[in-house]
């Protein structure tokens, strides 16, 4: 029972990641894309945790923590970048 539920949960997380990616493609402003990418990163952490329980290998959780750290630092770095630079052709607003 629990294996089926874990599979269903991972499929749900993958669906959410797809929706976030669609918003990242559509997003009219840079900030929509950054928001969608942030959500994508959080969902990746959750997906790694669920896959850990599906495969029964405990060392995946360390990767999950590392990924969440990298996600946060990457977000802050990106925002610092948007304060000073630009993304090429695309205007910010």
């Amino acid at each position: 029972m629990i294996t089926t539920m874990l599979t269903a949960t991972s499929i749900a997380i993958l669906t959410t990641m797809t929706l976030a990616l669609i918003r990242a493609m559509l997003g009219p402003t840079v900030f929509d894309r950054v928001l969608a990418l942030n959500m994508f990163g959080t969902k990746t952490v959750l997906l790694i945790c669920v896959v850990d329980f599906m495969s029964g290998r405990d060392d995946f959780l360390d990767l999950a923590l590392l990924y969440s750290l990298m996600n946060f630092i990457g977000m802050v770095a990106l925002l610092r970048f948007t304060e000073h630079g630009s993304f090429g052709e695309e205007t910010v607003t």
């Binding site: 029972m1 629990i2 539920m5 874990l6 269903a8 949960t9 749900a12 997380i13 669906t15 959410t16 990641m17 797809t18 929706l19 976030a20 669609i22 918003r23 402003t29 900030f31 929509d32 950054v34 928001l35 969608a36 942030n38 959500m39 959080t42 969902k43 952490v45 959750l46 945790c49 669920v50 329980f53 405990d58 959780l61 360390d62 999950a64 923590l65 969440s68 750290l69 996600n71 946060f72 977000m75 802050v76 925002l79 948007t82 304060e83 910010v92 607003t93």
Partner: protein, 111 residues
């Protein structure tokens, strides 16, 4: 006892999945940036929290539980911080939110 735990854990995982997909739908449906941030908040709090609780019920009382709770605690601190940084950066760049109710308009941004 294990059956009860399994059922509870399945329930938490189900609720977490539903809320996570709800946030995904919200980020597509809502009309503009400042509203979409709230949809991101749903997946970060309820989706992550419920799925993690389900996994904790599965793992029992081990180091894995500590790791899961630590990841959840860390997510709970970083996700509002990055959300706030995003909103403030958007305001600084002059992206004005579309409001349905004009309240407190005398408080303009200080920049």
């Amino acid at each position: 006892m294990t059956l009860v735990l399994d059922v509870l854990s399945c329930l938490f995982l189900l609720v977490g999945s539903i809320f996570s997909i709800t946030g995904g739908i919200g980020i597509l449906r809502l009309p503009e940036f400042f509203s979409r941030m709230h949809a991101g908040g749903i997946t970060d709090t309820m989706g992550a929290g419920m799925i993690m609780t389900g996994l904790v019920l599965q793992s029992g009382f081990t180091l894995v539980t500590f790791k899961l709770v630590a990841i959840l605690f860390f997510l709970g601190i970083t996700s509002p911080s990055s959300c706030h940084a995003l909103a403030k950066s958007a305001l600084t760049h002059g992206l004005q939110p579309i409001l349905d109710h004009e309240t407190n308009t005398e408080e303009s941004s200080p920049e």
